[in-house]
Symmetry: C2
Subunit: 142 residues, 2 copies
């Protein structure tokens, strides 16, 4: 797996689930499909569960499924659930305070980055999980 794999894995899995909302999938199935490890899957999907996007059941017939309708889940929900912060945050800045202009400039840079982050999330809110699912999907018959 590469970079940004968490977001990619999450979108991938949710999109699969959107195709067959009733089906329960195990972390092993999902990991095989995604070419990764069950524990990694549980880590990532655990975040989505905390955010109320997925349900998981332990035990023999356990596994993962959508906690709500796929068309009510946006990319922003997923992004925020993983608490990835793609854009924001500059440095700690503690050691830079000796320069008179640094304080203002640092905070201004941080401000701009936060602003961009916020508008990115707004943009993500416009796309639903169902929009990610391919229209011709031989696998789930949709």
């Amino acid at each position: 797996m590469k970079r940004n794999s968490r977001l990619s894995l999450a979108l991938h899995t949710l999109s699969h689930m959107a195709g067959e909302p009733g089906r329960v999938r195990t972390s092993v199935d999902i990991a095989d499909h995604a070419g990764t490890n069950p524990v990694v899957v549980r880590r990532v999907l655990g975040k989505l569960r905390e955010a109320g996007l997925l349900l998981s059941e332990k035990g023999h017939a356990g596994g993962w499924q959508l906690a709500k309708a796929a068309d009510s889940i946006t990319l922003a929900d997923v992004y925020l659930a993983l608490d990835e912060r793609l854009v924001a945050r500059s440095r700690d800045n503690a050691e830079l305070s000796n320069c008179s202009v640094e304080t203002g400039l640092q905070s201004r840079v941080a401000e701009v980055l936060e602003d961009i982050e916020a508008s990115l999330v707004e943009r993500l809110r416009e796309t639903k999980i169902t929009d990610v699912h391919p229209s011709t999907c031989s696998y789930c018959g949709s």
Copy 2:
């Protein structure tokens, strides 16, 4: 230094330069200001030079300065110059082709991520370097 430090360093430096467009700065000066290392500065600013945003001169009175007016440089220019790809790109996908739905879904996920990346760049294009510079700047007198 922390995460996103390249983008942060670049914005920081360009913003400084926007305040005093004529002044030539050495990588040592810049590194001191930013609390980092001259070589790191040259690495990052070298990318900006390749993109035509900065000029550098070797030799005794050498250093760095803006290659064009600060208000003609957008955050998108900087972002693309550093070729950071914050959002995009899923995995290599070679090992996933055994699943019938994977091909379509993978490309669809990649498509969505590319789309997000593109809209991020669009958003970045709306902010100029001069917008980052604090209005009250005791350092450069602007």
